[in-house]
């Protein structure tokens, strides 16, 4: 900004409206007045409208009994005892479930397709390219509807299920599969897994220090794998294998036992994963291509073997480009999971901003809570990404 500094002799001041500082203040004041005016106008209208319709504002409705059933509940919920506040949590849990499943699958498919696009094999590269171009350019909602109505709704009835090993069954009601049932004493196994994780972390730190000090390398990977798999297995076996499987069985027109995965969840999961994977594949491709060729050549001239070049030279540099973009795809996936409402998967938007809103009529409170959930997820992840970027950005000396 053009602000006269002390060393310069004071220039003759022009009229006030030519002074940048005064103008900046004036325009900001104008904007502030406009924003306050708009907010005041909206609040006034809303109050008047709510009054006219006899809607009471406030969050009391969260303690009232909901009285509707939800098809998939990850936490305790019953239609005649739980409150509207509980429906919020049930919906949120379902959103998080499908998002987590989608993120895992989309990452796997995306990395495979992205690497395939870089393959020297012409056919494979073209196939991967076709995948990206097809799925990236079709609306996600259409893909969700396609998987749900055209594929899963067309599956056979429970009696004619497609079965795999007589324990997995696919039919119009979804995927039915064996469910693990923990017996007394099973808790020791997850605890052992947690202990193994801590152990691996310690191992990595010690090994790194040791290598820095002496140059000697420990076989960290095999040791960690042995710990991660071996310790829980050992504990599981010692504690007498306290896990039983409830295998689904056809009785009458439906299945008994096992656990049922809703067809809505399957459709949403498949569509979200395939769609997001197309974007991740492009990010992976451009990330790897962004590493200058000189880097691999330099590594080769130091006679590093191919695998080590990839692990130590190419991937760390590609990651710096890829991680922020992939994270923003994850955020997109979480936000896109709200399309669940189109096929009736009971996610946050369908349950809370749908049924609960319609039953209570508390539009403002419900929409605010729903939007705040997505907003806070986005903001927290962006804040973490900014930290990551600050740590990973090139240190220029």
């Amino acid at each position: 900004m053009l602000r006269p500094s002390i060393s310069i002799p004071r220039r003759a001041r022009g009229p006030l409206w030519r002074d940048p500082t005064a103008r900046a203040l004036f325009f900001q004041g104008l904007l502030l007045a406009a924003v306050l005016g708009i907010i005041g106008f909206l609040v006034h209208n809303t109050m008047a409208n709510l009054d006219a319709r006899g809607i009471r504002t406030g969050f009391d409705f969260l303690d009232r009994r909901a009285g509707f059933s939800i098809a998939q509940t990850l936490i305790d919920y019953s239609s005649n005892a739980s409150t509207y506040g509980r429906t919020f949590l049930v919906g949120l849990a379902n959103t998080l479930l499908v998002s987590a499943l989608g993120i895992v699958a989309a990452t796997l498919i995306g990395f495979l397709v992205g690497l395939a696009r870089l393959s020297p094999n012409w056919l494979l590269a073209r196939l991967a390219g076709a995948y990206v171009e097809i799925f990236r350019n079709i609306p996600l909602l259409l893909q969700i509807l396609f998987w749900y109505f055209a594929v899963l709704r067309a599956l056979p009835s429970p009696r004619q299920s497609i079965s795999l090993f007589d324990s997995f069954f696919l039919n119009v009601r979804g995927l039915i599969m064996p469910a693990p049932e923990a017996q007394v004493g099973f808790m020791a196994t997850p605890l052992a897994l947690a202990a193994a994780m801590v152990g691996v972390m310690a191992l990595v730190i010690i090994a790194r220090r040791r290598q820095a000090a002496t140059g000697a390398q420990w076989p960290v990977l095999p040791l960690s794998l042995a710990m991660l798999i071996g310790l829980p297995l050992l504990v599981f076996w010692v504690s007498g294998a306290p896990l039983e499987w409830s295998v689904p069985e056809l009785s009458g027109f439906n299945f008994r036992g096992g656990m049922q995965v809703l067809p809505e969840l399957v459709a949403l999961w498949v569509a979200l994963s395939i769609y997001t994977a197309a974007f991740i594949a492009e990010i992976v491709r451009s990330g790897i291509q962004s590493v200058p060729h000189g880097q691999t050549e330099a590594a080769r001239s130091l006679s590093l073997p191919g695998g080590l070049t990839l692990r130590r030279i190419v991937i760390p540099q590609a990651m710096r480009v890829m991680v922020p973009q992939v994270t923003s795809q994850y955020l997109n996936l979480i936000k896109n999971s709200s399309l669940a409402t189109a096929i009736g998967y009971p996610d946050l938007v369908a349950v809370f901003a749908g049924t609960t809103l319609n039953q209570t009529g508390q539009a403002i409170e419900v929409m605010t809570m729903t939007m705040l959930v997505y907003l806070s997820i986005s903001l927290v992840v962006s804040a973490l990404m900014n930290l990551y970027n600050a740590r990973m950005s090139l240190k220029e000396r």
Binding site: L127, N137, L142, Y374
Partner: protein, 371 residues
């Protein structure tokens, strides 16, 4: 007298034969597909997968398909029943627009595609006129013709709009509205006035943090509460406002990335020449910044175009919802795949076209910006 080497023939090296030509199908196959045992196996497996996947699709969609007819009885073969699409063709394009008035939609669509062709084909002159027509002329003409109610044209309410025409309307309004709004927001976010910057940051981060569905829900549930009770808001207009605000935030971030890439010296040089803020932005910064981010802008357009399909959830009948509604027609049950494949094709053609165009324009403009 000493003899130099070139005096005698003996010192010359015999000319080597020219390299054997490395072209042809065999060479191509050997380097691209069968360069080693692993590669060969990969090629064969991929080829098998492609054949197993693609051939049934072609067989179903083209060879065995039924193309002509008027009812489902005409679909006798095993393939796709495109009769399902052809009998509802007029609905897919016009929605529930009264048939006597459809010429109005035809004129607008014709103008729309003609203007796009004019803008896209590089050889045609008068791009500025075309751009002005597209940004100002066409919206006015479209508004008068589609809505009617003036110049003796009967009024057609927006709830009768639908199909491709509605999809294109939403996309066009969204694009034309969100780009200028995005530019203003991006400039505001880079402003030196703290309050202006804060407002823009809050606005942008809010819209970018929530899903479009909740925005559409909000515009259909909450917007009526925000305005005085006597103001009647059209459902389409509500959705358009939501879509415009939502995408302007994404557009702002794209434009901001372009603004950040412009050297500070550019603006300072402009200031040294005595240009004010807006002149500096209009003549120096924005032309360079926008040119840099054309791919990003087009990507946002593509995302916006795809997401027009979300109006299905608030009960507007775009291409996808018209087809979706047709699937529940009791005379035409069981043609879901045909319906979705056709809708996918419509969206794909537009989106793929846009992305290819952005790649072409990126290549054409690439010469200008090299530091």
């Amino acid at each position: 007298m000493s003899t130099t080497a070139y005096d005698t023939d003996e010192t010359l090296i015999a000319s080597r034969p020219p390299p054997t030509p490395q072209g042809g199908v065999v060479h191509w196959l050997r380097t691209r597909l069968f360069s080693g045992p692993v590669n060969s196996v990969v090629s064969i497996v991929t080829l098998l997968v492609v054949v197993r996947l693609v051939w049934p699709v072609i067989d179903w969609a083209l060879i065995q398909a039924d193309w002509v007819g008027s009812s489902r009885a005409d679909c006798t073969s095993d393939g796709a029943c495109w009769v399902f699409i052809s009998t509802r063709w007029s609905q897919i394009v016009y929605g529930f627009y009264p048939s006597a008035e459809r010429w109005r939609v035809d004129i607008v669509l014709g103008l729309f595609f003609a203007l796009i062709a004019w803008l896209v084909i590089p050889r045609l002159p008068g791009k500025k006129t075309a751009a002005l027509m597209a940004l100002i002329g066409l919206p006015i003409i479209a508004w008068v013709l589609l809505l009617g109610g003036m110049f003796g044209l009967p009024h057609v309410p927006t709830r009768a709009w639908g199909g491709l025409m509605l999809t294109l309307t939403i996309a066009a309004v969204g694009i034309v509205g969100s780009l200028p709004l995005g530019v203003v927001l991006a400039l505001g976010r880079r402003s030196k006035m703290p309050f202006v910057r804060a407002i823009c940051v809050i606005f942008i981060e809010f819209w970018r943090g929530v899903p479009l569905i909740t925005v559409l829900f909000m515009s259909s549930v909450m917007l009526p509460l925000f305005v005085p009770a006597n103001v009647e808001f059209d459902k389409l207009l509500r959705a358009l406002i939501g879509i415009m605000l939502f995408w302007s935030a994404y557009m702002a971030e794209v434009v901001r990335s372009g603004l950040q890439a412009i050297d500070k010296g550019q603006g300072e040089a402009g200031a040294a020449l005595g240009l004010g803020y807006w002149l500096r932005m209009r003549l120096i910064i924005l032309p360079q910044a926008l040119k840099l981010v054309i791919p990003g802008i087009v990507n946002t357009f593509i995302a916006l175009f795809k997401d027009t399909s979300l109006v299905l959830i608030i009960g507007l009948f775009d291409v996808l919802s018209i087809i979706q509604a047709g699937l529940t027609d009791s005379d035409w049950l069981g043609f879901a795949i045909e319906g979705y494949v056709f809708a996918a094709l419509v969206f794909w053609v537009f989106c793929f076209g846009m992305s290819r165009y952005s790649q072409i324009i990126e290549r054409r403009l690439d010469t200008g910006h090299q530091h």
